[in-house]
Amino acid sequence: MSTIVENVVCPFCGCLCDDLAVEVEEGRVARVRRACANGRGLFAHYDPTPQRPTVDGREVDWEEAIAEAARILNEADSPLIYGLSSMATEAQRKAVELADRLGAMIDTTSSVCHGPTGLAMQAVGEPTCTLGEVRNRADLLIFWGCNPAVSHVRHFTRYSVTPKGMLTPKGRRDRTVVVVDVRPTASARAADLFLQVQPGADFEVLTVLRALVQGKTVEVETVGGIPTARLQELAERMKTCRFGVAFMGMGLTQTGGRDLNVSELFTLVAELNQYTRFSVIPMRGHGNVAGADQVLTWQSGYPFGVSFARGYPRYGPGEFTAVDVLARGEADAALILASDPMAHFPGAAARQLECIPTIVLDPMPSLTTRVARVVFPTACYGVDAAGTAYRMDGVPIRFRPVLPLVRPTDEHVLSEIVARVLPG
């Protein structure tokens, strides 16, 4: 006997597509309709069977694992809490509460993703809008240093490029699509205009675009590998569109200059509002990484890289961010929440997780669970656990789980740990 659950929210990426149809057969996901390969993979490969937590690779009961996790955190002088972005906001709140109580450092996957975007927002502001506005109104789309065809597969068809909206009744034909990247990506093939920028030259190109938008004369013939004449055309197109939206990704945040690249784009977008309406939306990666920023900001005042060591929150990108803390050997215990730094951190930072007691909460085995001292196989938000997540445009969406909840949630485990830790 199978049942089909309609309008399911996919928790994989920041698109949070909320139109999936999931067929459930004998307590497992049998088929997933309308999802991309990433969404389908997440629902299809998740095994909801309850598993026991482990301590040093040995299966134990939940009470024993929670006691061991609390002991590790209580004994640590400088614990690090990291991850958060694949959990619901309800669990994220508990993580911040735990950091506060422990006097710990807390950082999210934002720091290796759109952390520099957060720094840029703090410096120059964020001219934003919702994806609904993009779909219904935008006639010029610029994708800068991002590759949605691979990372946010349904972005083009659900929100940006092809959907037919109120003021875009002809869909794709009503829109101009520009892609700026260092290589001809799969997304570039869908563009009307592809500008190939030299690696590391985004800042220069954006600065020249700002000058051209302001009507200034630029004497050089090419900037960052792009002829100035083509940038002039783009500047005109930007000024004369009805509603333009720039989407940006790791091509700006992970390249030299980092937050300065993003600040330059955000400033350009802000300045374009003197001529027309223009917004910018960061292409957020994890399903609820935007929520992690929201929760940490409303609880501590800062979006990532926060230390509670002095009893009040202090903000320190480069100081309290996970890669820096681990690479410098400044954490003596780590609590990793629904993320896999062993797979995604530079070697020097990842190796440190093998040297300190590490606790992991994750629905799936990962490279980090392999080296962790305590592993809690928790429920997967969006598949068997309910909760709230923030879409990349800051719109909160409620998960509609398709399977009955039989595993403990991250929120539950964190609450139990909070109850057992001594104020730091």
Binding site: A37, N38, G41, L42, A44, H45, D107, S111, V112, G115, P116, L119, N147, V150, S151, V182, R183, P184, T185, Q196, P199, G200, M250, G251, T253, Q254, T255, G256, G257, R258, D259, F304, G305, P317, G318, E319, T321, A322, V323, D324, L326, A327, D340, M342, A343, H344, F345, P346, G347, A348, A349, A350, M364, P365, S366, L367, R370
Partner: protein, 140 residues
């Protein structure tokens, strides 16, 4: 091919100043040419992720370096040939795939192999240099 020794490259060669410095060193000492390395997602890396990071699919999807056909032809490297890729942070030996890249650019899918090439200096932002590293390639 001669290579820039690690004692010159430790930490200094991340970022733009490093690239300029490395280009200059290559010029004056007739040393190995340098490439710009970027890392990122690929469809196969995403697929492998769901199958499990201990799966063969994930290992295959992340243990490779993409290079332009022009660079491969120029250096006499064939599809699937194993090369050593070296940055200031470390080195890996991986097979080459022809990729849609401009000459001078290398692409390694994000994952444990790419991480061996990425330094942990974040320039006060928290963000390691995942893109835009100076790297060199040596056929094995």
């Amino acid at each position: 091919m001669r290579t820039v020794s690690a004692k010159y490259s430790a930490g200094v060669l991340d970022g733009r100043v490093g690239r300029v410095l490395l280009a200059w060193m290559a010029e004056v000492t007739n040393m190995n040419e340098y490439f710009t390395l970027i890392t990122g997602r690929t469809p196969k890396q995403g697929e492998g992720l769901h199958k499990g990071k201990d799966s063969e699919a994930y290992r295959r999807a992340t243990a490779l370096v993409e290079m332009s056909l022009e660079d491969m032809a120029r250096l006499g490297i064939e599809e699937g040939q194993v090369v050593r890729v070296r940055t200031a942070a470390g080195q890996v030996e991986v097979p080459v795939r022809a990729g849609a890249l401009p000459p001078g650019l290398l692409f390694v899918p994000m994952g444990p192999v790419a991480n061996m090439l990425i330094g942990a200096k974040t320039e006060g932002t928290g963000m390691p240099p995942f893109k835009g590293l100076a790297a060199e390639v040596e056929p094995r």
